[in-house]
Assembly symmetry: C2
Amino acid sequence: MSNQSPVLYGGIEGGGTKFVCAIGTGAGKILAETRFPTTTPDETLALAVDFFKEQSQALGLLTAIGVASFGPLDPQPASVTFGHILPTPKPGWTNADIVGPLHAALNVPIGLDTDVNGAALGEWRWGAAQGLDTFVYLTIGTGIGGGGLANGKLMHGLLHPEMGHIPLPHDKMADPFEGNCPFHSDCFEGLASGPAMEKRWGQKAETLPPDHPAWDLEAHYIALALRAFICTLSPQRIILGGGVAQQPQLMPLIRQKTQATLNGYVQSAEILENIDSYIVPPMLGGRAGVLGAIALAQLIVTNV
Amino acid sequence: MSNQSPVLYGGIEGGGTKFVCAIGTGAGKILAETRFPTTTPDETLALAVDFFKEQSQALGLLTAIGVASFGPLDPQPASVTFGHILPTPKPGWTNADIVGPLHAALNVPIGLDTDVNGAALGEWRWGAAQGLDTFVYLTIGTGIGGGGLANGKLMHGLLHPEMGHIPLPHDKMADPFEGNCPFHSDCFEGLASGPAMEKRWGQKAETLPPDHPAWDLEAHYIALALRAFICTLSPQRIILGGGVAQQPQLMPLIRQKTQATLNGYVQSAEILENIDSYIVPPMLGGRAGVLGAIALAQLIVTNV
């Protein structure tokens, strides 16, 4: 057995601006990778098909392909719209079928889930969520999205979580910015995404100095949202990914404010004493998207 | 086989003011029941032990006993504090061991979970959540608590959900009441529990006429909370129990305001078109607590 080639999986990180395609092993080793801009569904998926066809001639047959995509999307195999993007502001992608064209062209099982559920699964398999059965993976950047596992399986339910769109307390005396979510104005995403910060402060979030009051306010909103997730789901850990969350001055503020807003109510040592290992950055960094997609491919074959 | 006695389970609904103990079958038929005030842990548990000893002499041996209790509590069998109440404002009950004394006296497996997880399990087994794998059971009355199933199992994670303590938007111009939660002032429970309504309006919630503006405000807060739960967990259904939620004028308002606050963002027919079967009252009514406890007893034996 030890001389056999490893089982190979394909992964597609389908982002709003770029697609990343990769081939990797079940141990999370990437053997080939490409990236290209997200244009129309037809054109973008055709480039993905080309990559997998070419590379699998060189590397060997793929067992399955996982797609970790921007959403909203329908991840339920039993649904009539399974594998499709749902209505989205992104031009041309509403109702686009992702799974159908890939399966037709490549004839392997295709798994599809949200980018955040993919990243969560990658962190569970190889990163910061190993051994847990209930945790949240949150990304705070251009948008805010959340996924994770509940009772050992990816969170789906009705469709998939939309954690960026929870309502939050918003003191307009302290923060008169109205919020920029086209659906809810001052939901979590409308108050705390990168573009919301840019609109509020008149400059890009990453150009704000570490001691700018923007970061204290940002940590305030993130902590309120984490309290909502903790009280709703009781996660064993929260992983904070995305560009905004990676600002080094944020993490200590978020941890401290999350403890403060919970105010001792959840009597768990993980929160009261070990907050540094309860709210953590991702371990897979820039690899999370594509490794998550490969983990999704594995999942549909092995169910683990 | 058909002449054998049915398998018997014990159930304890452990409330803050009263305990209800019952013996029932796996089909949810209650054969004996008693209730008594909640006093000290020793005295209260001794009365429960007496009931089960006496009744099982008459009815037959119990296979297991389930306890659906007020919390916070530790429902994780692997934990050192398993089966104990955690720090609580209720005098005498902080760190009280519930499972230990019952097991020592009755020598059957004892299952323990929150009252709301018990009620959720009862509704899943015999009521409004049959066939679902991810749903929320919320009780709005003296306090606000939530539980449910995620991916086919009771929600635990770190400990158990505390859905009454999520933060909510609170416009103090429209509603100057500060909230009455001793931990978070104006969290969901602090704004919308029965005692919060009583304190805000100066009279008991159940005495407010159906056209009083209190109900519109109450539905407003409940709808915001449901949006938080929907965006976080993506439940397939939400069951609203508890005394406040049973006011008949509330349900239509809650449904309408939940759709309004989501504002079309979650593209699911269940929410957009079938909200009347998405946000529903419990089917087990006053039986939910004790049937939930019996369902918990079944769960530890059959794992179903």
